[in-house]
Structure formats: structure tokens, C-alpha cells
Amino acid sequence: MIKANHHLDAKGLACPMPVVKTKNAIKDLEEGLVLEVQATDKGSKADLTAWASSVGHQYLGTVEEADVLYHYIRKGSNEPKVEKAFGQNISLEELESRDGLILDVREAAEYAFGHIEGAKSIPMGELESRMQELDKDEEIYVICRTGNRSDLAAQLLADNGFKNVYNVLSGMNEWNGKTTKDF
């Protein structure tokens, strides 16, 4: 199952209820976090996709399991502001010829719906507590959706003694290569 920060049960409800409930549920969610909407209304996929783009959220994807649709929506589409850029960057093209670890700091659900094969997932919010999973001497290429979260993550790693950290620009948004799904 894909990890989300909040779950909404809209099973058995007909249009327009799944959208109305989603609107109410997402209000309480922190910007950048992921809502899972469980629905049986077959129209809910098209509706929530359109709704998210019209209201300004990021529709991540839908998984169907035993007649239940699990939709994933990330609140807002703004990325955090970067005050002072990390500086040590690498382009997506260069990334393809490098060895080392690709560290994907997007939310788990964003990662699940498409990531570069072999990339390791640690959401930005968990990085501080999970840093010990990483090797300080390895080359680490930090990636997110647009290059902002990864910039903050790269700075955090560098501040903690990681020597070979790069921020990948611009991010999965621009990545045209192969992706792997994880569910």
C-alpha cells in the first residue's frame, strides 16, 4: 500500500460527494503532504484529476484494488522557498552517466507513482531522522520534483558531514527517461 499522511473514506458515495469530501479533508492537511481518497465512484478518478488541477493541488495517481479506487493528492503545488541555493548542482543529463546513490526526497506517494530506477526514497520531512541510512563518503544525488526540496535536503546533508552531495536540477518534472512504479 502507498503511504499517505491522511486517509479519507468516500466509499459508496456518488458524485459530487467524493470531491466535496476531498475538499473538506484537504483543508486540514499541511501544505506538501499527501491525502489518500478511497472511493468506489468510477467517475471519481476523472473528477479528482480535474479538481486537483483546477484548485491547485498535485494529483499523483490512482491505484485500483478490489473495486476500490485509491487516489493520491498532494496538497498545493508550491515548493518550499530556497533562501540560499546549495550551489553544487548537476543536470539530469549528467546524472545518467554518474555512479552513486540517487536520493529521492519527495513524499512516498510521489515516489511510488514514478521514480528513477534504483533511487532511494527518504521524504524531506524524514531525512533528519533517517540520515544514518546513508553513507557519508558515497556520492549522493538528491532529487525531488522541481529542485527546491532537494536543494534544502542537499544543504542539510552537507551540514551534517556528507561530502559528495549534489542537487539534481531541475527534478523529476523534467525527467524524460525511464521511471519505475512502486506498488
Binding site: A14, C15, P16, V19, V20, K23, W51, V55
Partner: protein, 131 residues
């Protein structure tokens, strides 16, 4: 794109009610400013008693089962939800006078106005829908 949706509800059957309130709540949930102008039979849709017993078109009564199976919200539920989402209801003064109705005959929170009130809103709305 306009952030306003204007709806004219001029018919008073159950199907009409679903068309009006489904579009209205969906638009409001998408953060549009929504106003519905209720006129003639459309006033049934927000009438305190009338909205509980809206009729299906003649010969279509068998759809009652379909509504139940699809688990659609009831019209009074949709009315409440629409109001919670900030949809504004305007009842047509002229029609109310013709039909001998007063503001108290309708759900709370409505406004009463004439065509101009609505046109003023609708001139900036896209789309304007009529049911």
C-alpha cells in the same frame, strides 16, 4: 477563466434538482463562487416542504431504485451541503409574488431578489447554466 458560476433553476422536478445541485456543489468545491437563481417551478427546489417530495418525470418513476442503488445524496442533503460550501441562493421575487410565497417558505439563508440582482452576478460568470 472566470471564478464565478451562475445557475438558473427554472424547473421543479427531482431530475432538475440533481442537475442544479450537483453542478453547484461541484463548482463550489472547486473554489468557484456560485449563485443559483430560483424562478417559477425552480422555487420547489428550496421550498421547505417541497424539496422533500420532488417528483420524477412521468413514466420515469422506476429510476427511484437506481437513485437508491447509486447511493446519491438526497436533495435536502445537497441543499445543506451547497449552503455550507457557500453557494448563494436567490429566490425570484416576482415568481414568489405570483405564487403567494414568502421568504419563510424557503430554507434559511436565501436571498430574495429580482432578475437584475442575478444578471449583475451573471455578467462576470462563465459558464451560466440553465436547468
Amino acid at each position: 477563466m472566470s471564478e464565478k458560476v451562475a445557475i438558473i433553476a427554472a424547473n421543479g422536478g427531482l431530475f432538475d434538482a440533481y442537475k442544479v445541485f450537483n453542478i453547484a456543489t461541484a463548482a463550489a468545491a472547486s473554489e468557484k463562487e456560485v449563485q443559483i437563481f430560483f424562478t417559477f417551478e425552480g422555487l420547489n427546489l428550496i421550498h421547505k416542504q417541497g424539496m422533500h417530495q420532488l417528483e420524477m418525470p412521468a413514466g420515469k418513476e422506476h429510476f427511484a431504485e437506481g437513485f437508491k442503488k447509486a447511493n446519491t445524496p438526497t436533495i435536502p442533503e445537497l441543499v445543506e451541503m451547497a449552503q455550507e460550501l457557500g453557494v448563494k441562493f436567490i429566490a425570484c421575487q416576482m415568481t414568489m409574488d405570483v405564487m403567494g410565497l414568502t421568504k419563510e417558505d424557503f430554507v434559511d439563508g436565501i436571498e430574495v431578489g429580482g432578475a437584475v440582482t442575478f444578471i449583475e452576478f451573471a455578467k462576470e460568470a462563465a459558464p451560466t447554466l440553465t436547468f
